[in-house]
């Protein structure tokens, strides 16, 4: 078992401690009581109403790859505290507690794998690590993922989520938007397909860079997706926000998202799309 998958053990252990055996999770949408086994079997989707629970990154990788094919890149990369932030909770302490909580060094895991036999570059962001904010490590790992995929002629699939910028890294955080977009410019020039999958929630700098630069942009149902958060918009504009504003379905209607895809169909949808685009390159 590679070190990537072994880290899930840590994840499950914490989770099992938090949720004692036999205890059920209540669906926040419909109130249905769901057992842990039920949830895992159904890709963390409520079997009664289709509500999508948050999904850990190892389960995401498993869902989108063929068994034992994922090999992680840059798993040991760690954030530093380049600005030496003071006066508030220390960044170093936050990093450490999030590393202990998740078993991972930062908010994204990247690597290459096979999906239905086809080689792909794959990245999965993880909201449970500092709200998947984008700092130097997230930006660098995603840039390397795209660059390596360009070198190896691989399509890129990237599961996106983010609550905002990694403020503790100041302008280094902002510039990751440019860096990742530059790598995508070259990936696109090589004629390779890129498919971001937008999950709940995907906002701010990630939205204003790689999340919206896909050839095809997919989104899970009911995900909150936008540049500014709804609270900021309300406070700034004092406008009433319409029902369903900034949700996947709303953004599909408004023309940003190609398809809203339930989690259970993501694997098949992505595999079929990549087949079409990569086959087209062969001709």
């Amino acid at each position: 078992m590679s070190s990537f998958f072994s880290r899930r053990l840590g994840f499950t252990r914490t989770r099992k401690k938090d949720i004692p055996k036999g205890v059920f999770t209540k669906c926040p949408s419909c109130g249905e009581m769901l057992s842990q086994a039920d949830l895992e079997k159904n890709l963390f989707v409520c079997r009664a109403c289709g509500y999508h629970f948050p999904m850990d990154r190892v389960s995401r990788v498993e869902m989108l790859t063929d068994p034992d094919t994922f090999e992680e890149w840059d798993g040991g990369m760690m954030s530093k505290d380049p600005l030496k932030f003071t006066g508030t909770d220390s960044y170093e302490a936050k990093l450490k507690s999030n590393q202990e909580k998740t078993g991972f060094k930062d908010a994204v895991s990247t690597g290459h794998a096979k999906l239905e036999g086809r080689a792909i570059g794959l990245g999965v962001m993880d909201f449970s690590f500092l709200a998947a904010s984008m700092g130097s490590v997230v930006g660098e790992k995603i840039t390397r993922l795209i660059e390596k995929s360009t070198e190896r002629d691989l399509p890129v699939v990237l599961v996106c989520t983010s609550g905002g910028a990694r403020m503790y890294e100041g302008m280094f955080s902002l510039m990751q938007m440019a860096k990742t977009s530059g790598a995508l410019a070259r990936h696109a020039q090589a004629g390779l397909p890129y498919i971001p999958i937008l999950t709940h929630p995907t906002t701010a700098g990630v939205m204003a860079s790689f999340a919206t630069l896909g050839d095809v942009i997919l989104a899970e149902p009911q995900a909150l997706i936008g540049f500014a958060g709804p609270r900021v918009i309300k406070e700034t504009t004092l406008q009433d926000l319409p029902e369903g504003f900034q949700r996947s379905e709303f953004l599909k209607d408004k023309g940003l998202i190609d398809r809203v895809v339930p989690r259970g169909e993501l694997r098949k949808t992505v595999a079929n799309l990549l087949d079409v685009y990569m086959d087209a390159r062969e001709v």
Binding site: S3, G75, G76, M77, M78, S79, K80, P82, L83, T86, G87, T88, D89, K105, S136, V137, G139, E140, T143, A165, M167, G170, M171, F172, S173, L174, M175, Q176, M177, A178, K179, S181, G182, A185, R186, A188, Q189, A204, G205, M207, A208, S209, F210, A211, T212, L213, G226, F227, A228, I233, T236, T237, Q239, P242, F245, Q246, L251, K254, G255, L256
Partner: protein
């Protein structure tokens, strides 16, 4: 010329008041107070130098937002000739928070674009306080691509609190508009120079800032989030904006030290608004210097230069992975 005084400028104002009183007194009483006047004049200069050279990051933010500071259109008028403004994104409408057009810079054709703030309620409503909607970024992209087609260098002037966070912005996908600008900016063959002249407000600034060179005025700032926004999140209180400004390392000086900005353009004592012409002259000289460096490159070198510039940004360490 300044009639708007920032809180930290109060000591200067006090001295200037005293000076005016002294002058009136001396005239009224017909007493020669030359030496006393000279003494206070000297004190004023000393105080100014002390205050303006020792500005805290938060004071710089206030200076960058100074309502009398020259804005994009002022610099366009001061550093170019034959400016012809071009309007609209050919998709939805003409956003007034980003202006742009063709002009001559030192006689040479250039494309100049920038975020535009207003001076009064009417102009601020028109340009939305310098906060662009998506169509502003799409207009900028149209003009930048046009520049690339005709081999004109691109000069962008940045002065915005940020892209507008509103319902319509989201409905027309401001995030996508910015993202596309970032990606496409890496493909331009022409020299591209951006100058932060006031506020560099996060992604809204970066949307016209993926350039070969990032220049910044001495008292301008460029930040991933407004100091108030950062304070509200990390300190749970906007009143800690000064602390946030300090920590975020957003001043021209910090940004050059951290390899984000390439060069600092000096401002006259008291800030750009005390002498817009002199500031514009400094700006033109700095742009000209960097333009010459970019002119000397081949197209491939210029594209690679821009890629390498942003590629190098970020601080991290790498550990061997545990088995």
């Amino acid at each position: 010329m300044s009639t708007y005084v920032l809180p930290f400028e109060k000591p200067i104002l006090e001295l200037e008041k005293k000076m005016a009183e002294l002058r009136t007194f001396s005239e009224d009483q017909d007493i020669d107070m030359k030496s006393e006047v000279e003494r206070i004049e000297h004190k004023i200069l000393e105080t100014k130098q002390k205050i303006y050279s020792g500005m805290t990051p938060w004071q710089k933010v206030q200076m960058a937002r100074h309502p009398l500071r020259p804005y994009t259109r002022d610099y366009i008028n001061l550093i170019t000739t034959d400016f012809t403004e071009l309007h609209g994104d050919r998709l939805y409408r003409d956003d007034r928070a980003i202006i742009g057009g063709v002009a001559r810079f030192q006689g040479r054709p250039v494309m100049i674009i920038g975020t535009q703030k207003g001076r009064d309620t009417k102009s601020n409503l028109e340009c939305n306080f310098g906060c662009p909607y998506p169509e502003g970024y799409r207009k900028a992209l149209r003009l930048m691509k046009m520049a690339d087609k005709f081999g004109m260098p691109i000069l962008s002037l940045i002065d915005t609190p940020g892209a507008y966070p509103g319902l319509e912005s989201e409905e027309r996908h401001v995030a996508e508009a910015i993202a596309v600008n970032l990606r496409e900016s890496f493909l331009f063959k022409v020299p591209f120079i951006s100058v932060v002249i006031g506020e560099g407000g996060s992604g809204g600034a970066l949307g016209i800032g993926v350039s070969n060179r990032i220049l910044i005025l001495e008292h301008a700032y460029y930040s991933v989030i407004s100091p108030e926004g950062c304070a509200a999140i990390l300190w749970k209180d906007r009143a800690y904006a000064d602390k946030a400004a300090e920590n975020l390392k957003i001043t021209a000086q910090d940004l050059t030290n951290n390899g984000i900005a390439d060069d600092i353009i000096s401002e006259p004592l008291g800030g750009a608004h005390h002498d817009p012409e002199a500031t514009a002259k400094n700006l033109a000289e700095c742009v000209s210097k960097h333009l010459a460096q970019l002119d000397a490159m081949t197209v491939e070198e210029r594209i690679q230069d821009r890629y390498d510039k942003f590629r190098a940004m970020g601080v991290f360490e790498e550990q061997a992975e545990e088995a």
